[in-house]
Symmetry: C2
Subunit: 359 residues, 2 copies
């Protein structure tokens, strides 16, 4: 029996996608081999790769003057790739700090350039995002970096910051494909696949082509956007199985009605869960209402001693992956595209029952 | 119907492994989820990861004073990681050039340090390796790098070079697990998984622990061996599905009898194919007898105009992936661990028939 898996990433995938991959795993559409056995230069795999890119472009509305790359190394790899590809030695870049993942991006950025933190939500306990229009970005900054969604804190930008002429760069790992995004506002969007796109081990980078050509010569070629763009992301052997699975997920998103439909579903799921939390005197969520993540919902019981019994009851009920990040404790429900409303309803029912018994 | 797939990588995998993965793909052993959906911090995945590492250590005979890392980025990622982790700015490193992959490692090495090419097989047309004992390695070199097997040229070192006190580093992508290797002779062994280990998207790095601690501060954390070793290769989300599949392949290698058994099988396969080439006046292989790869066997017809008809006849016979690398043409059969002797026999039969009709 399949459980409802609320893990933050790697995360639940659509069962239809897994079943399709399963049916093709020893023989992809009469080719006599698995996708994972195919040469990445074979016509079969090249078509799989190109189809996934085309679907990504179409779903996300990527303009023609942007490259779409399929790389390895996760968002953490891009924490280094961003400064190496966009900024010369000694340059300055602006960063927004909204929590744990921002901090990691900032720490890695500091290895490569002068980081100016233009907003730090420390005083709010990282429970919100800077107000629209409040960022003062130095005109000579190589870029402005922010974390669109903080997976641990459960904080998500409800708006796209204005960086003026400075290229805007975002880690969209948890948000990508969960709702429409105006790509034309960005210089670079990057995302690890293991939330809304599929398996871990693939990283999507969407980069405006006029920003290619700025890379430092010492940029490792696997992180070198221009070199990868010129090689259709096949400068070296790409993670073919992951690429194929992402393609199947993109096809599934298309079948669901695209990003407008995903946004409606995700909004409904988030409203159901936050509504249950807010209508309770027992459960709480510390994030400002307008900065709450639609994807990662942390919630706390009135006493941390109740975490273990709740997680045990959840496991009993077939709800998995609800433990909060080890750095913060409590609970967290990640409700990505592939989590159905029924899963969130089952969680809310459990929370209501648990409150009755322990409230 | 499954074909015999002679691709150089991604490459054929044991059917038993694919079938096992297939049976577990929507529900791993009663967990209610796919391996690819599991949190990498879950007890289930941590056990999968640890078991794969233990099998790798046991099969390859990795001493306790070596770390075994499971990273992303392929061997090409390690072309940058090696200098960044082992050598300060301005340091010198020695490289052996035996062909296309050596050249790529050297080119990327030059971005980070002073590369001294201590042997270059250009004069032989990259058809052999330096004679044992012929390398003069500068005593102050940070390391000596060589490519254990040139996948394109079909050249494989039949011996481990002596680097004295200089750490020996090798790209073992095609050789790893195909026969025993004395790990204790090496400072670092790295290998992309997509030949003998499983799917593309995972890179194994075996590094002597006393070499950790030399990394440059600007080393991207996804390529930082010490940081990865300290985090059990989970500094960020690892490629979990690939890691799991590598674990299944390692289990299969164990069931086959380990590396001695693999070596016997691989030697028999190589002898069958090279024997057929050498006993023919039609087919040829340009590599010196004692430097011929057991894994990648390039072969040429007397006239390149025969390549297309041969490849068409091969496809007809259910033999796939036999085209030579686009940089050299001709044919190439990659006969990794998962290629059975029957596949090589089918190829030899086809070559014999083709020669009769066209010789």
């Amino acid at each position: 029996m399949r459980v409802y898996n609320f893990s933050a990433g790697p995360a639940t995938m659509p069962l239809e996608v897994l079943e399709r991959a399963q049916s093709e795993l020893t023989d992809w559409r009469g080719s006599g081999m698995s996708v994972t056995e195919m040469s990445h230069r074979s016509p079969e795999f090249v078509s799989i790769a190109a189809e996934a890119e085309a679907r990504m472009r179409s779903l996300l509305g990527v303009p023609d003057d942007y490259a779409v790359l399929f790389l390895q190394g996760g968002a953490t790899g891009q924490f280094a790739a961003v400064p190496l590809n966009l900024a010369a030695v000694g340059a300055t870049a602006a960063y927004v700090n909204t929590g744990a993942w921002s901090k990691k991006a900032i720490a890695e950025g500091r290895n490569h350039l002068d980081v100016r933190v233009v907003a730090d939500e420390k005083d709010s306990g990282y429970a919100t995002v800077p107000a629209p229009g409040s960022l003062e970005v130095p005109a000579d900054a190589a870029y402005l970096h922010y974390t669109l969604n903080e997976t641990i804190g459960g904080v998500e930008f409800p708006y796209v910051p204005d960086a003026g002429d400075v290229p805007l760069v975002t880690d969209a790992s948890s948000t990508i494909l969960s709702r429409p995004l105006d790509v034309s506002r960005f210089g670079v969007i990057y995302a690890g696949a293991q939330k809304n796109l599929g398996p871990a081990g693939l990283t999507v980078v969407v980069v405006r082509k006029d920003l290619l050509g700025r890379a430092r010569p010492e940029t490792p070629s696997v992180l070198h956007w221009q070199a990868m763009a010129e090689a259709d992301s096949m400068l070296n052997t790409p993670p073919t199985l992951a690429w194929y699975l992402v393609g199947l997920v993109l096809e599934w998103v298309e079948q669901q009605g695209g990003l407008e439909a995903m946004a409606q579903r995700n909004r409904a799921k988030a409203e159901l869960l936050y509504g249950a939390i807010d209508s309770s005197d027992f459960w709480s969520n510390p994030v400002d209402a307008d900065a709450r993540s639609w994807m990662n919902v942390p919630f706390l019981a009135p006493d941390p001693a109740l975490d273990k019994p709740f997680l045990a009851a959840a496991a009993e009920a077939g709800l998995s992956g609800l433990g909060g990040h080890r750095s913060v404790g409590g609970m967290r429900a990640s409700i990505y595209n592939a989590m159905p409303l029924e899963g969130v309803q089952a969680l809310v029912d459990l929370m209501t029952d648990f409150e009755k018994q322990n409230g």
